[in-house]
């Protein structure tokens, strides 16, 4: 009887541990993942222009690596809700790629890279564009991004 109780307790602790870990598990970041697609913003834009649903199906959730001129770094929100973004511009007017970073640790590195060529990667979230407002251009959005300092590391 004692053994059964101990076994049940161990199972209970195990289940609680798994649930607790699942609930608090950290977000997966692109820094631990190999780039699945290496592409320019303009090529990505061409793919969405020719067939946006096919392009979205092809690239969604993939870790995409893009190199380009870092136009600006944006910080939005505050406290726990603060988000940090790096924005690369394409050759096409109004089309940009926006990488969100998992924490503030990359802030100082990114700030020093503004107006320089950078290589970034992140999980593709989609193309924020609406044909009803073409004057807004479009933004390719990437989550949990990472800076790749040197292309040869990939």
């Amino acid at each position: 009887m004692k053994k059964i109780i101990i076994l049940l307790l161990l199972i209970l602790i195990g289940v609680f541990g798994v649930v607790y870990w699942q609930w608090n598990k950290p977000r997966e970041t692109a820094s631990n993942r190999k780039s699945e697609v290496i592409i320019s913003i303009d090529s990505l834009y061409s793919a969405f222009q020719s067939n946006d649903s096919l392009a979205f199906a092809t690239y969604q959730n993939k870790v995409i690596q893009i190199s380009g001129l870092l136009d600006r770094v944006e910080r939005q929100g505050d406290g726990a809700n603060q988000s940090n973004f790096a924005v690369l511009l394409s050759k096409t007017d109004g089309i940009e790629a926006k990488f969100s970073f998992p924490d503030t640790s990359s802030n100082s590195i990114l700030s020093n890279l503004v107006k320089k060529n950078v290589v970034l990667k992140g999980f593709f979230a989609g193309f924020n564009y609406d044909a009803m407002m073409p004057e807004m251009g479009g933004t390719f959005e990437f989550n949990q991004s990472a800076i790749i300092q040197n292309k040869t590391h990939e």
């Binding site: 598990k25 977000r27 959730n61 924020n128 564009y129 407002m133 959005e141």
Partner: protein, 182 residues
């Protein structure tokens, strides 16, 4: 010569019309729902939006995967089980400030506004109406409003196991800073 004058007049009108527009790519939309287990909240700070001051037309577009939750597991469930972001990647709103004539865009101040339009979430389009505030400050506008929607209206199904703990109604907060279009 006449053609040149016509072109110049057209260009003048076109530029005046574009000056009536306010835009942003960093609008904030958040939502909140009180549940018995843990409150659910998320924020998207990459909303693109445009307001045409002359007509009152207002449009929003944002990606579902850009809503950030405090817990990664909540974000995973939201995208995979509730809003199916892989199938329906965007949320859009297209509507009008119905009392735009009450807003003086050239005078700083806080103006109560009413907005009506079509909100699309999870591939479902529904009419929504809301009261809000438009704050004019120089060449910038701040739009804010709060309204509630029902998940069931957008065919978002709450799994039976958590039906009693997750509220069908969620409160949406819109907080968008616009700049006058160049």
């Amino acid at each position: 010569m006449n053609k040149i004058i016509l072109l110049a007049v057209f260009a003048l009108f076109a530029s005046a019309a574009s000056a009536q527009k306010y835009m942003t790519k960093t609008g904030k939309i958040s939502f909140f729902s009180k549940t018995k287990i843990e409150d659910i909240s998320a924020i998207n700070t990459s909303i693109s939006s445009i307001i045409d001051a002359s007509t009152g037309d207002m449009k929003f577009v944002g990606l579902m995967k850009s809503f950030k939750f405090p817990k990664p597991l909540m974000e995973e469930h939201f995208n995979e089980n509730y809003v199916e972001s892989d199938k329906f990647p965007k949320t859009t709103f297209a509507g009008k400030i119905t009392n735009v004539s009450d807003v003086n865009f050239s005078k700083d101040g806080k103006y109560p506004v009413q907005v009506a339009g079509i909100l699309e979430i999870h591939g479902v389009k529904k009419n929504v109406e809301s009261k809000g505030t438009l704050t004019v400050k120089g060449n910038t506008l701040l739009a804010d409003t709060k309204f509630s929607i029902l998940l069931s209206d957008y065919n978002i199904i709450i799994p039976t196991a958590v039906k009693k703990t997750i509220n069908n109604s969620i409160e949406i907060t819109v907080d968008v800073d616009y700049s006058k279009a160049p």
